[in-house]
Amino acid sequence: MVIMYVLLAMMIIAAIAAIEMEDLISSVIAVGAVGLVLSIAFLVLKVPDLAITQLVVEILCLIILIRATLKRDLPFSASGRWFLNTFIAVAFVVIFLIFAYYSVKDLPTFGYPVMKVAKFYVDSALLKTGATNIVAAVILDFRAYDTLGEATILFTAVIGVMAVMRRIGRKKIGEKIEDENE
């Protein structure tokens, strides 16, 4: 359990560093450090599927964020109604903690799940599907509806990005669409 506390402390430190950095690229790299430590935490908790997915998605997000922030001078506004913003944020955190206190109390203790549904999967996954990776058997056979929803989410994300970034429909006179060549 000690290594989990070390990893959690590293994640919190990296997250605070990501907020406090002045430079935008340093901040993005600190966010990437949070994700990489999280993938190590998944590996320590013996979830290699999630660790692989977290690692590769984190690398992809890091590349996209760095390439998107590298040549733009994004406005960074730290002024304004900071008192109201801080008050709202603290209020939401307090409300969340109150609800979390009552709901987390009823959860089973860490590492000793009840396994009412999971016991069925562990027992019958190999017999019913023939897949030795039980995670694959669950997400693509028993719970394939959820995977269909995930695929739909990704499809919707691509369509949404295209709809936001594409401005062909309202192109003005003298405006050219150019691909950056690098």
């Binding site: 995670v135 056979d141 695929a151 994300a157 060549n181």
Partner: protein, 152 residues
């Protein structure tokens, strides 16, 4: 800025050596998704990362000659429709997402587990093409205005 697109010679040489292995590792992860950790989503992201690696090192011409924008759109739609088609084929056995292979095959072999490898392949095609097209859209598309009134 020099005329040749992409990064320096060191990056190009290393990319030429490694990008094939990255693509191969992605295909390995996705094909063995029902045997070992991994699966369609992770394999698809690694395949998309190999194309993004090519684009970052060699510029957009090389990467888009390997997988063009219409081809990426086509592959993403094809992956979605293939996944839905596999799901609908389950009606042969009675219900949606039915694992309709009666012979599930021997465990720990590559050809086993019924529809799960097919679903993995469909999802990975969809994820690879979708994430690559998101990268193209977010990074490459720029809008230049000639009149200075607009970008104030």
């Amino acid at each position: 800025m020099n005329k040749e697109p992409g990064m320096t010679l060191i990056v190009k040489t290393i990319t030429r050596l490694t990008v094939g292995f990255i693509l191969l590792y992605g295909i390995y992860i996705l094909v063995h998704g029902h045997i070992s950790p991994g699966g369609g989503f992770a394999g698809g992201v690694i395949i998309a990362l190999s194309f993004i690696h090519l684009m970052l090192a060699f510029g957009k011409e090389t990467a888009l000659s390997k997988l063009s924008k219409p081809a990426a759109a086509l592959f993403e739609s094809f992956g979605a429709i293939a996944f839905l088609a596999i799901a609908t084929l389950g009606f042969m056995g009675g219900y949606f997402f039915f694992n309709f292979f009666t012979d599930k095959g021997e465990p720990f072999k590559l050809f086993s587990a019924g529809i799960i490898p097919l679903c993995n392949i469909a999802i990975s095609v969809k994820v690879a093409a979708g994430l690559f097209s998101i990268f193209i859209i977010l990074v490459l598309l720029k809008f230049k205005t000639d009149d200075k009134k607009e970008d104030k």
